[in-house]
């Protein structure tokens, strides 16, 4: 039996790096220190899937050839997913996107994409989760529910965590939660702002107005009373070091990036009075990495198109839901994601009408109607790589057991090589006639 310590769990954006695994043979037998999701992730059996073409089991190389053929023939393919892949695979996907002249998008466009657009407009006064643990005495959770989505966030970083200036842990912190629902996170709050659906922009605007010395006219703002606004504003200003976490309660509701723009501006305003920072509460384990890698490789974080030979940026134009609902792509390559289970039905259904290739360790809802399914070694379990935590800190993911399948990075590089050879053959053929 092997015992491995300080293993990173790559399921969610918290990337807890203190997991202990016990391994017998080539099987993870025990997980210590992780949350319920982490235990499921590490204890799920691997290599249960087989390569498929048109639903029939084939050799891996045959499935790879079928994927190359589909992509080489496509006029406008889409590469999508990437947020549960390692950063090495994300870079390989960009390379393939450039070879193909494809559109490339990550799950960011249907989670924190609008927040990233706001970040481009306002900027981001941010910090690491280590600073949150050691310094933060006022913590805001706006439109996010870490108790259910990031189960160890409270204890490792933001609420009970004890640090240099927060030796008392929870006792040393004021917790503010803003949400439409009284979530499990809201139940742990000192101040709970129960916002009306789609009322976030109004509440944030009222808070900014008070901070800048304006008088509020009206009794309620997005469902929050004047007194609650004044009290919250005073707690925010009294912080020694405040942190504002936001989630999809801001990015998915009416106003999308305008909501986040207002939140980031509030943090900007608070820095006139005290120290305040903001961190997007990223969901997928390496969705922050997807944005980081795409940005350093293309200049843009998501919703990118290579059809003109250079990258163009277009949220609303080159983003997955728009491309699929408008039926603008004629083939799709899905990497470590399950759009059939996560996108609005019309978008997911279109993937069944075009040749779709899925690279994933698990047989997903999308894989069920894909033309080609290529199983891969799960990252952070049977493949090593890099993932970016929600605060943009890169962490190494270790390979702890063996898989009979290649990594998604190796599969993407092999597809790219195959497509380049196909294109070279096409050029050579055209020159002989």
């Amino acid at each position: 039996m092997r015992r491995l310590e300080n293993i990173v769990c790559s399921f969610c954006g918290s990337l807890c790096d203190d997991i202990v695994l016990e391994i017998e043979g080539n099987t993870i037998s025990k997980v210590r220190g992780g949350c319920a999701i982490s235990r499921s992730k590490f204890l799920s059996p691997i290599d249960n899937e087989v390569p498929l073409v048109d639903g029939k089991e084939v050799d891996f190389s045959e499935a790879l050839d079928a994927a190359v053929e589909i992509l080489a023939k496509a006029r406008h393919p889409l590469i999508y997913g990437l947020s549960s892949a390692g950063s090495e695979a994300q870079a390989a996907a960009v390379k393939l996107g450039e070879t193909l002249g494809a559109s490339i998008d990550s799950t960011s466009s249907v989670c924190h994409g609008p927040g990233t657009v706001a970040k481009q407009l306002v900027g981001l006064s941010t910090c690491t989760l280590g600073e949150v643990k050691n310094r933060a005495d006022v913590v805001v959770f706006w439109g996010c529910n870490p108790v259910e989505a990031h189960p160890r966030h409270f204890s490792r970083y933001s609420v009970q965590a004890k640090g240099l200036n927060t030796e008392g842990g929870r006792r040393d912190r004021r917790i503010i939660v803003a949400d439409v629902r009284r979530t499990a996170t809201a139940k742990a709050a000192d101040i709970f702002l129960q916002v009306e659906p789609n009322g976030d922009f109004q509440v944030l605007t009222a808070l900014r107005a008070v901070l800048s010395g304006n008088e509020l006219r009206g009794d309620t703002f997005g469902g929050i009373s004047r007194d609650e606004i004044l009290n919250t504003s005073s707690v925010l200003q009294d912080a020694e070091y405040g942190v504002f976490f936001f989630g999809m309660g801001l990015t998915m509701t009416r106003g999308t990036h305008y909501n986040v723009q207002q939140a980031l501006s509030l943090v900007h305003d608070l820095n006139e009075k005290t120290a305040f920072t903001v961190i997007p509460m990223r969901g997928h384990g390496n969705v922050a990495g997807a944005e980081t890698v795409l940005t350093w490789q293309t200049g843009y974080p998501f919703g990118i198109n290579f059809s003109r030979g250079y990258p163009r940026y277009g949220p609303g134009e080159f983003t997955v839901t728009d491309l699929l609902c408008r039926e603008e792509v004629d083939a799709a390559l899905v990497v470590a994601s399950d759009p059939a289970a996560t996108l609005p039905a019309r978008a997911g259904e279109y993937l069944g009408k075009i040749p779709t290739i899925v690279i994933d360790p698990n047989y997903s809802a999308t894989a069920k109607f894909a033309r080609v399914f290529l199983p891969s070694a799960p990252i952070g379990v049977a493949a090593s790589g890099t993932a970016y935590r929600m605060d943009q800190v890169p962490l190494p993911l270790k390979k702890v057991i063996d898989s009979k399948y290649p990594t998604d990075c190796d599969i993407l590089l092999a597809i790219d090589k195959g497509v380049v050879e196909c294109f070279a053959y096409k050029v050579a053929l055209s020159m002989t006639h």
Partner: protein, 116 residues
Amino acid sequence: MAFIPEIHAILITGRTLRQGVGVADGKDSDVYKKETSLVELSSSTMEMLGLKHGDSVEISTDFGVGRFLCRKGDLPEGIIFIPYGPPANRLTRDATEGSGMPGFKGIPCKVRRRKT
């Protein structure tokens, strides 16, 4: 007591711990299938519709219709909650209004009690 057969509400979709465990276990797992076919309703909404835990309701939006089993949630009146998953995605708005982001939250809907 006469129950109202149908109410208008606002739909919110989102994460739950069990939905997350289901994603890690696999989309064909029982935990994922069960969790994503539930709808949370407030106590008053359940009373108005004459529903008890586990009863079936039909939820419709401008984008689709689905059947869900109900459970009680700590929600304000007029708000319903469904965990992310394929059943919820039959009801969500696919137009992104130029943002790339579909409408996963704040969607007007109708909740109707199904005959048992």
